[in-house]
């Protein structure tokens, strides 16, 4: 009974993990019939096994979920977010129950009506009429079930001991073969031995495959984690995985699971900005987060990429100094790369505050050490403001790879066959070796590769016994877009190799990816084809690659016009072209004030007009869209940003010009589109006359007693001029110079080309040709300014 229960728990845990991911994927695409069927089978399987074990709560829960899903399958019920949430609720409850079962051995008493009712509640939506055709689900379901669950569970240590056993058998076989050859056995003995030998090889193959698993399994729980976290944080995230078919050793998978989940959580929590910040940065509201796997030579590469804010090296340094991870002096000496890698220091956590999501005592230092423990590396590719990519490279150790055995410096090395593009002889006609400026390169059919000599990289002398004239060249492609030529003394053969991690002190040389025991029984080092490149310090990127990439980004930047959807203060959904939005501000309601019949907002040191009929009520905060036409800014109050969508092609134009340019259908709903032209026009004309987009600059010269600054400047500013005093004379040439002293020569050389207005202190003019203006004659002064500055502009 206990065994049965354990099997059930192990199986159910696995199913639940997979189901979570599948359900979230299905939510994104409710039309995906295959996915729905798979989820249905998951719950159906749990229901079946639990009934057998008499676990009433589990049975009831899975039955409810199965029922609801069946309704969807029959088309009686739509698949919507509410249903998905309810089903996820059931999945969670099942997980809880299984945990309790695992701990206590008995199903705990309790009531699941809450989650089951949640499912029933949503089913009260108007159901579609029963379709005429009723699908019978039995046959196809059963067939699929048999396929999916005809497997048994084996403890890992048992697999390990089997693996060791088989490898020992292989080694013993080789020794036996040598002895047979030396003893000159008769042909029938050798034939029998060969048969044995073949079956041993086949067995070794199957045993190693037993340990392999698709990396899909590792990705399965991620969609659920991202969905829940994004919902909690109010973020929109498009999550995708790729490369699920890559196979990885089960044990490796166990070691990567937690670090990967941690990285994904971090990306959602810290990497991806809140909606407003994304809009402000000109990004789509929906963030992209992707996890992909691929096999690159002898390594598996798992890439977690987000298009969030990336890491700020300066902020990291400040943080590290504050957390006393480094001293300020040390920090100054750090290279940009080292600054980024501060996040791997123990005691460092990037979140400004510890959140409930990622601040759980696990830091990137743990991630890094876990990955390194299995001989892997963690790499960061940071684009500040545009996203962060974290790359986990783990060796395919404990996995079987096809290896090419090469000889150099009198010993054998293995190169993963997957990374080998071509093998040729240095002396062959198709290859030409050139020495260029101390380096070597080989040209193969017009293509050039940097040439590395294995002995040189390893710091060994070329073995005297090797033929120096007829060396072999292996064209190696360690990763996408990289290739180089590796010169070795000789090529030996191909062999299927079981790779195991080498001791850390060997791995840290960066030259080796592991060790292997070929049939000879003598250990062979597996070369790290990427590491060799790093050790040689050669740039092996294939030419032309960067140009193509640049063209791609340009193309995507040219993409369709985007529309920002938002809800305005009166709860209407409206849209405006994203390109006219400078940013989204969130200001306290008190920053808005009424002045001369218009609502204005104070943001920082500046005051901007606000398109609103009345001041907002309450003391909370107000979100403002900052529209920018290149010269001036207008704020448009909104309730919330909803999304960024592609501008629809068709729009029903409004009858008369006004705030609303027209109506377009977005996602099936009519949305009013704001006309930024009209909007800007309104405020452009109501702005103080003469104080156009660029306000003229008045410079006060010779303002010895401060009269200009204290008495004159406010008047000028009110009239729409900018005022600069003598002291703060910037680089900008003034439009007009106001000379405040009676001394006629004082300002002679100051104005440059600018017109000069002289002010006098006495009421009476000095004479008929006196063009100075009495300094308290406001009207005359403004007229003079307008003539000299404003007049010329009109």
């Amino acid at each position: 009974m206990d065994d049965l229960l354990n099997d059930f728990l192990a199986e159910t845990a696995e199913i639940l993990a997979e189901a979570g991911g599948a359900i979230v994927a299905w939510e994104a695409d409710p039309g995906d019939r295959e996915r729905l069927d798979a989820i249905f089978r998951f719950v159906h399987t749990i229901k079946g096994s639990s009934g057998f074990l008499s676990l009433p709560r589990v049975t009831a829960l899975s039955h409810a979920a199965e029922d609801a899903l069946d309704q969807v399958r029959r088309g009686n019920r739509p698949a919507n977010a509410a249903l998905v949430t309810a089903i996820l609720g059931i999945v969670d409850r099942l997980s809880l129950l299984c945990d309790a079962l695992g701990n206590g051995g008995v199903e705990p008493a309790g009531d699941d009506a809450d989650v089951i009712d949640a499912l029933a509640f949503v089913s009260e939506e108007p159901a579609a009429p029963e379709p005429a055709e009723i699908r019978l689900r039995r046959e196809d379901d059963l067939a699929a079930e048999l396929q999916a669950w005809r497997s048994i569970r084996v403890p890992l240590p048992l697999l390990d001991s089997m693996m060791t056993g088989v490898t020992d058998i292989v080694l013993a076989r080789n020794e036996f073969a040598r002895m047979l050859r030396e003893a000159g056995a008769d042909p029938s003995t050798i034939a029998a031995f060969d048969r044995l030998s073949d079956s041993i090889a086949a067995m070794r193959q199957s045993v190693s495959q037993m340990r392999m698993q698709r990396i899909d399994k590792l990705f399965a729980p991620l969609p659920r984690i991202v969905r829940d976290l994004a919902q909690d944080l109010g973020k929109k995230i498009a999550f995708s995985t790729s490369g699920g078919e890559v196979e990885l050793d089960r044990e490796m998978m166990e070691n990567i699971r937690d670090p990967l989940i941690h990285i994904v959580r971090n990306a959602v929590d810290h990497g991806i900005e809140p909606l407003d910040q994304r809009v402000a940065a000109g990004k789509g509201v929906t963030a992209n987060l992707s996890v992909s796997a691929r096999q690159s030579g002898n390594q598996i590469e798992i890439v977690v990429r987000d298009d969030g804010r990336g890491l700020s090296p300066d902020a990291l340094v400040a943080k590290a100094v504050a957390a006393q991870v480094v001293t300020a002096t040390e920090a100054r000496g750090l290279t940009p790369r080292e600054r980024l890698e501060l996040i791997f220091r123990p005691g460092f956590s990037t979140a400004a505050k510890v959140t409930s999501i990622s601040g759980r005592g696990v830091g990137m230092d743990i991630v890094k050490s876990n990955i390194e423990k299995i001989g892997g590396v963690v790499e960061l590719r940071n684009e500040e403001g545009r996203g962060l990519t974290i790359i986990l490279r783990v060796p395919m150790t404990l996995t079987i790879i096809s290896g090419l055995m090469v000889r150099a410096a009198g010993q054998y090395f293995a190169i993963p066959r997957g990374a080998v593009r071509e093998i040729l002889l240095e002396s062959s006609d198709s290859a030409r070796v050139d020495r260029v400026g101390g380096g070597e390169l080989v040209t193969v059919r017009g293509e050039q590769f940097p040439l590395l000599r294995l002995e040189t990289i390893l710091g060994r002398a070329v073995d005297a016994d090797d033929d120096t004239d007829d060396r072999a060249v292996v064209i190696v492609r360690p990763g996408q877009g990289q290739s180089y030529a590796l010169s070795v003394a000789a090529i030996h053969d191909h062999e299927e190799l079981v790779i195991k991690p080498a001791a850390p002190l060997i791995m840290t040389t960066g030259l080796y990816a592991g060790t292997t025991l070929p049939d000879s029984g003598r250990p062979v080092l597996l070369l790290d084809v990427q590491g060799l490149l790093a050790a040689a310090g050669v740039d092996a990127s294939e030419a032309g690659r960067n140009r193509e990439e640049a063209a791609e980004t340009e193309a995507s930047a040219r993409g369709a016009t985007q529309l920002l959807l938002f809800r305005d203060a009166s709860e209407r959904v409206r849209g405006v072209r994203l390109s006219v939005i400078e940013r989204v501000e969130e200001v306290p309601a008190l920053a808005l004030f009424e002045s001369a019949g218009a609502i204005q907002a104070q943001i920082g040191d500046a005051i901007f007009p606000v398109h609103a009929a009345a001041l907002p009520e309450g003391h909370g905060t107000v979100k403002l869209l900052r529209l920018h036409d290149g010269r001036s800014v207008l704020c448009y109050p909104i309730e919330a940003v909803i999304d960024i969508v592609r501008m629809p092609d068709a729009m029903q134009p409004a009858a008369a010009p006004g705030l609303i340019a027209g109506v377009a259908l977005i996602g099936g709903d009519p949305v009013e589109l704001i006309d930024p032209f009209w909007l800007m026009e309104q405020y452009e004309t109501t702005r103080a006359a003469g104080a156009g987009p660029r306000r003229p600059l008045c410079r006060l010269a010779d303002d010895a007693d401060g009269w200009g600054e204290n008495f004159l400047a406010p008047i000028l500013r009110d009239a729409g001029y900018r005022v600069a005093s003598d002291k703060e004379s910037g680089d900008e040439a003034p439009d007009v110079l106001l000379c405040l002293s009676d001394d006629g020569d004082a300002c002679a050389n100051l104005g440059g080309d600018a017109p000069v207005i002289r002010l006098r202190a006495s009421v009476a003019a000095a004479g008929a040709d006196d063009d100075t203006i009495y300094r308290y004659d406001r009207q005359a002064l403004l007229d003079a300014l307008r003539r000299r500055v404003g007049g010329e502009r009109r």
């Binding site: 060791t164 390893l458 001791a503 850390p504 080796y512």
Partner: protein
């Protein structure tokens, strides 16, 4: 009882005692394979059944010139952090119970030995250093460079 079981051996030209629980086994080396560009105290790799072990030359760890490894040499196999290592032994003497307690190291040791030795113990009228095999595996950065 197990705490008092020691392996007495001569490594790096010095008689030492190793606590038996720190040791996996004592085996005879097959033909070792060199590891180019590895730290100096890595004497090579060798296979034992289907496992690959890293050979450590204690001579280098304590500051002596390296010795050549020959096939058939006896080595002390230890597991450190899930990896198998083998310390080259000049001579394996005995596995025995030593009833006298371990004592603090008296006198000054050379820096190499000071790092690997934990304590001293009296055995048959001689003082032996009690060494931790794990310390042989990790070489301080300064001497590795």
């Amino acid at each position: 009882m197990m705490e008092k079981l020691y392996l007495v051996a001569r490594i790096a030209d010095t008689r030492v005692a190793l606590r038996s629980r720190t040791i996996h086994s004592v085996v005879t080396v097959g033909q070792p394979v060199e590891v180019p560009a590895a730290p100096p105290h890595v004497a090579g790799l060798f296979a034992l059944r289907s496992r690959v072990f890293t050979l450590i030359d204690p001579h280098v760890v304590v500051g002596l010139p390296p010795v050549a490894v020959a096939q058939g040499q006896r080595v002390i196999v230890v597991d450190v952090a899930d990896h198998g290592y083998a310390l080259i032994a000049d001579e394996i003497e005995d596995v025995c119970f030593i009833e006298t307690p371990e004592t603090r190291i008296a006198g000054r040791l050379s820096p190499g030995w000071a790092r690997v030795a934990d304590a001293m113990i009296e055995h048959r009228g001689a003082s032996l250093l009690v060494v931790d095999p794990a310390q042989f595996v990790t070489l301080p950065v300064a001497s590795a460079a």
